[in-house]
């Protein structure tokens, strides 16, 4: 088995410095890449030739009812159960506090009978208010896109394909608003999934697979409604268009605390990406073939960015600038082609010439060009998320850790006006994480312990305040005297053995942008086309360009990276009546 830790140690000198990588703005500039979870699950189901068949499709003429997809993997079988209900448009909201949805779903293991279906029917539509059987793996819901859903059905029922340009404005027919796994609401614990349903033993793979099937249902339901409405004239949605339709997602602050609470896991994700990059830059050379592939992807990424539709002016500018940068880089590549002997030349040029958004796109493309090298480290290591105290460590050694590994945390002045303005808390409304301003909002006394920099600084101050007559030599003696610091100390001791994992930012600062946290996590999921709705939540698109279920089993080109609009003429020629 590939020993990633050993290889990382050998390549350590080529890895980027954590102060560069873990900068919040840079993390918020990450893009989906070869090893993002959506890419991985699609590779897996294609490689293993899973079969996905509609075993129940009891929908009425308006598309309301039940559908069940039966999934057979080489060793297991699962069912993806969908309940499609009428939803008053006044109740349609992306917020987690919603109580009704157009579609509610669950992914469950094994075969089941009518009685078990009844239990699901009673509980799945309730979402957080229901209790799920322990063989259910994922619970989720989605709402129709008010801009696209009706339009697509109108077009199909009148015998026309929808305009690709119009589809592109939104990119999906449904938008998920929450995807739950890991034992929530009585479902199977992650440990059970990992050990017993090991088709989904990669983190978040079951959740991503469920989103893939929500997308598939949105396509099947649309075809169904159109054919029921106008049996004589309706056409099925063209397969190229189907592939271009993704599944939307709305993500708010709920994702942010996860990144802070699981630094070992985040370390493994980022370390893998950085290792792939370092390995490719240090051990491959740009030959003609690779330069051609690289140039094509740069151009495709530029087009992809141009095609993104967002009303957010800041995001518009980011996309436009990055797209222009990529066009310039493509020109530079053409001009300098014969001079480029080493990928370091390219990286140096991009780093010196362009902003971090463009730098990270180039890094992502470079990894894409070397699938063999990237896929060699595809398999995730099991991360035992334990943050144990090392009580025998001397206080001097702990101080060294803080001053070296957590130097960034000591750079903030928490007495300054804005540095400690924000507090994070959970609302009584479905425990939704929210941000408060200490000067305005209630609830400061209930804040979530998310300000790592402040906790480090407080611990360090207490250590420095010890006078020589206080005989405290070890960490054990220190936490005995100051138990409030035990939690941050065991975190620092654990994380000091890793390279990445701690996001080097003050999350309590008034001007901090949580959206960077969301985008970082979403990029590892494989999400693209970010459409921020505020600094606190973002809409995005998943699986755009990915295969549809009828493609599984056929030859698979793992190439739905930076998807671009399919050719409208070609799509019309491929129409299925």
């Amino acid at each position: 088995m590939h020993n990633l830790s050993q290889e990382i140690t050998e390549k350590r000198e080529h890895l980027r410095d954590p102060s560069t990588v873990m900068d919040l703005k840079r993390l918020g500039s990450f893009y989906p890449y070869k090893l993002s979870f959506m890419r991985k699950i699609i590779r897996k189901i294609s490689r293993e030739k899973w079969t996905i068949n509609l075993s129940v499709f009891n929908l009425d003429k308006d598309g309301f009812g039940e559908a069940i997809y039966e999934i057979k993997t080489p060793k297991n079988n699962y069912h993806f159960v969908v309940f499609a209900d009428f939803l008053d448009s006044n109740l349609r909201t992306d917020r987690v506090i919603a109580e009704a949805w157009d579609m509610t779903v669950t992914l469950r293991h094994g075969s089941f009978n009518q009685n078990e279906l009844k239990i699901l029917r009673q509980n799945v539509p309730l979402q957080e208010q229901g209790r799920m059987p322990s063989n259910c793996i994922v619970l989720s819901r989605a709402n129709k896109s008010s801009r696209n859903f009706k339009y697509v059905i109108d077009q199909l029922s009148s015998g026309e394909q929808p305009s690709i340009k119009r589809i592109n404005e939104v990119g999906y027919l449904y938008r998920t608003t929450a995807v739950y796994g890991s034992g929530k609401f009585g479902m199977a614990d992650w440990e059970k999934v990992r050990l017993h349903y090991n088709d989904f033993s990669e983190p978040f793979s079951a959740e991503m697979f469920s989103c893939f099937l929500i997308r598939q249902f949105s396509l099947d339901q649309t075809d169904h409604i159109a054919s029921m409405r106008a049996p004589e004239t309706a056409v099925k949605l063209n397969d190229d268009i189907k592939r271009y339709i993704g599944i939307g997602n709305a993500t708010g602050l709920g994702m942010a605390p996860f990144l802070i609470k699981h630094p070992l896991l985040i370390n493994s994700w980022i370390e893998k990406r950085e290792f792939a990059l370092a390995h490719i830059i240090s051990s491959t050379k740009p030959d003609n073939k690779k330069l051609n592939e690289f140039s094509l992807l740069v151009k495709r990424a530029s087009t992809h960015l141009q095609e993104i539709s967002t009303e957010n002016n800041a995001q518009k500018k980011i996309n436009k600038d990055a797209s222009n940068d990529l066009t310039s880089i493509a020109q530079w590549l053409t001009k300098e082609r014969s001079e480029i002997k080493d990928w370091r030349q390219l990286i140096k040029y991009v780093t010196n010439t362009y902003g971090i958004e463009t730098q990270e796109i180039i890094n992502t493309i470079l990894i894409e060009v070397y699938p063999k090298e990237a896929l060699a480290i595809e398999e995730n290591e099991i991360i035992d998320e334990k943050y144990e105290l090392t009580p025998e460590m001397s206080l001097a050694d702990l101080k060294n850790i803080i001053e070296s590994k957590y130097k960034w945390a000591l750079n903030y002045d928490f007495k300054s006006k804005d540095a400690d303005t924000v507090f994070w808390y959970r609302s009584e409304e479905k425990m939704e994480p929210r941000l408060g301003d200490r000067n305005i909002d209630n609830g400061e006394e209930k804040e979530i312990l998310i300000g790592i920099a402040r906790a480090v600084e407080q611990c360090y101050s207490t250590m420095n305040s010890l006078t020589p007559e206080i005989k405290i030599n070890t960490v054990a003696e220190f936490v005995f005297a100051f138990p409030a610091h035990r939690q941050i100390i065991r975190r620092m001791q654990t994380m000091s053995k890793t390279t990445y994992g701690e996001i080097q930012a003050n999350l309590l600062d008034k001007n901090m942008l949580p959206i960077h946290l969301l985008r970082c996590k979403l990029s590892f999921f494989g999400v693209g086309k970010f459409d921020p709705k505020s600094r606190l939540w973002v809409r995005n698109t998943m699986f755009q360009g990915a295969p549809i279920t009828r493609d599984i089993g056929k030859e698979y080109a793992d190439d739905w990276f930076f998807p671009v609009m399919p050719n409208e003429k070609l799509s019309k020629e491929n129409e299925i009546h």
Partner: protein, 253 residues
């Protein structure tokens, strides 16, 4: 009694919130939650005990323990009648640190409650390559309890000893021994209490039993007394902030 089935992860999240809510950030609330979670996963009534403990300990009261003696290879604590739950990890930290320096440590704690909460901490000794043993007497039941663990073992062996000549005044300290060498805890116990050969040992929970109960819960989840679940949820919910139009702005819409 009615039960609710919940997952391991749900209980963990619930206990984290409950401990954060009750103890605040002045204690390592995640570690307290871990201990309760471990006990509940291994059929040792962690939740029931936790609810009893917080009933008797006012919210955010001083739960520290006094270090009465710190000699070579020896630590003595006075827990002032409080539960071991709150200090089990800190006492373990002190014992482990001393072991590292002096290769052996005998720690005793007097005036304590809920000694069973020391069990999950024994695993920290084995993970660090130490033998460890904990024991305490329950004179009113005429027995002593002993738990042992060896390096790299995942779980302790938990035994009960019936002792004929134990009087109600024989209430012992909670003893914790950590050593590089194997510890004959029974011998240690009987030597200290001078009642050699007047005992009958039964294995209360074997390391294998501990493992099996955890494996069972991975597959089936846990059944928690509904009343306890509601109480726990009430405590956990105190960490939630009341919603208002103003607070909704903090969610981004």
């Amino acid at each position: 009694m009615k039960f609710i089935r919940i997952s391991i992860n749900e209980l963990k999240a619930l206990l984290n919130r409950a401990c954060e809510s009750h103890y605040g950030h002045q204690y390592d609330y995640e570690d307290l939650a871990y201990i309760i979670h471990w006990l509940e996963l291994h059929n040792l009534e962690g939740v029931t005990d936790f609810l009893k403990i917080i009933n008797s300990a006012p919210q955010k009261s001083d739960l520290s323990t006094d270090l009465a003696e710190n000699q070579e290879q020896r630590l003595k604590f006075n827990n002032n009648g409080h539960s071991i739950l709150h200090v089990a990890s800190i006492i373990t930290d002190m014992t482990l640190a001393k072991c590292h320096q002096e290769q052996f440590c005998h720690t005793s704690i007097k005036d304590f409650m809920h000694p069973v909460t020391i069990l999950p901490n024994l695993i920290k000794f084995s993970q660090n390559g130490w033998h460890a043993s904990a024991w305490w007497a329950e004179p009113e039941r005429g027995l002593a309890q002993i738990a042992n663990i060896s390096p790299e073992q995942e779980y302790p062996e938990y035994k009960e000893i019936k002792i004929k000549e134990l009087s109600p005044n024989d209430k012992s300290d909670l003893n914790l021994i950590c050593s590089r060498n194997e510890i004959n805890s029974l011998e240690s116990y009987t030597t200290i209490h001078k009642n050699n050969n007047r005992h009958k040992t039964t294995l209360k929970i074997s390391a294998n039993d501990f493992k099996e109960s955890y494996t069972d819960k991975i597959i089936n989840g846990l059944n928690i007394d509904t009343k306890n679940y509601r109480k726990l949820s009430q405590i956990a919910d105190q960490i939630l902030v009341e919603a208002s139009e103003q607070s909704r702005l903090g969610a981004g819409e």
